[in-house]
Symmetry: C2
Subunit: 210 residues, 2 copies
């Protein structure tokens, strides 16, 4: 198919398709002349994933490019592809000037030990969690321990589902990688979206409007 | 205290403090001359919260301003403050061109009914969840049902902790509002950070490196 058809089938403006081609998010088509290439179903599928990660998952174009580069690398162990998808958590953490990250690291490591989690020191979740815990301490006035323990229990529930989803994925390496990437990035959004729903549901139940 | 001391105590550059004052995120100090104001502990505390929401929680300055405006409004029912904090989920959802939101809404409403959740039609989580579910359908090839049900169970776990954290918050309305806002925004980050940790832990357990 030509660019115009690819644009139509994927619901992506031609200018955006060209931008993704330039940035390397979308693989090139087969060139048929100096100004034309033809594209196939793999391009439609890839565009679907790019839009999902950017529009719905909230990833930046740069981060999406990194995730896709990891997915495309045929020799990369699955663990490293997972690791690239995991890095998407780091969109949340900037350098928070005045917080004491070491105190946060000590606290997340104590929580890990308590739950028996074994993770690398550079797990992006560990670093992000440390910043949140240090910020809770810094704000003072309230310790958020109930919330922290609730997060730990909820994280165990969702991560078990993550692994089961990967285990039942039919198809080769490519299908598994897509499940990991899409499931992680969009699963984050679904998880916190549903949190808002149950918050409202429980609020109304326990604090009925007058 | 003067601006310089406020900057030092809060670890926030003077230019940034002035920016927050201009944008209305930080309440004005007491003016002592045409060019000077004095600030107090409430300003240090507020700056801590602003930095927490922006630097660690990943909210935009505009969204942080909305949340703070809702917090400051003395007559606003707690439900509406919660609602403002809940809107922070919408940072994730843009207009995803080609997805069928109605199919997503039908699917999230079916899941809600299955779990007995009662929420408003405009709950921001419902809309964000609909976009994710529609995107899962759109990508095809894999239905993500295990993940979706895992998210629902995990959301119930965390939302119960949210309500309990609010119930045990000591202090007046201001303290409760702070717990809701900080707990919701930073709790999102902690939740998905811990998800990455347990993912790695379980991956290593079930798929040990060769």
């Amino acid at each position: 198919m030509r660019m115009a058809t690819l644009s139509e089938l994927s619901g992506t403006p031609v200018a955006t398709v060209k931008y993704y081609l330039r940035e390397g998010l979308l693989h090139p088509g087969v060139r048929t002349s100096a100004t034309q290439s033809i594209y196939d179903a793999s391009h439609v599928r890839r565009l679907g994933m790019i839009r999902a990660l950017i529009d719905v998952g909230g990833l930046s174009v740069a981060r999406t490019g990194e995730v896709i580069a990891a997915m495309e690398h045929p020799d990369l162990p699955l663990g490293e592809v997972l690791s690239a998808a995991q890095q998407s958590v780091s969109r949340f953490t900037a350098t928070a000037g005045s917080i004491d990250r070491q105190a946060g690291l000590d606290r997340i490591d104590a929580i890990s030990a308590q739950h028996g989690w074994v993770v690398h020191a550079d797990n992006p979740g560990r670093l992000a969690a440390a910043d949140v815990l240090a910020t809770f301490d810094h704000l003072a006035g309230h310790d958020y321990d109930v919330l922290v323990q609730g997060c730990a229990r909820a994280a165990a529930v969702i991560a078990e589902a993550d692994l089961e989803e990967v285990a039942i994925t039919v198809g080769g390496r490519e299908a598994v990688v897509e499940t990991v990437v899409v499931g992680t990035v969009l699963g984050d959004v679904l998880l916190i979206a549903m949190r808002r729903m149950v918050q409202e549901h429980l609020s109304r139940k326990f604090y009925p409007p007058a």
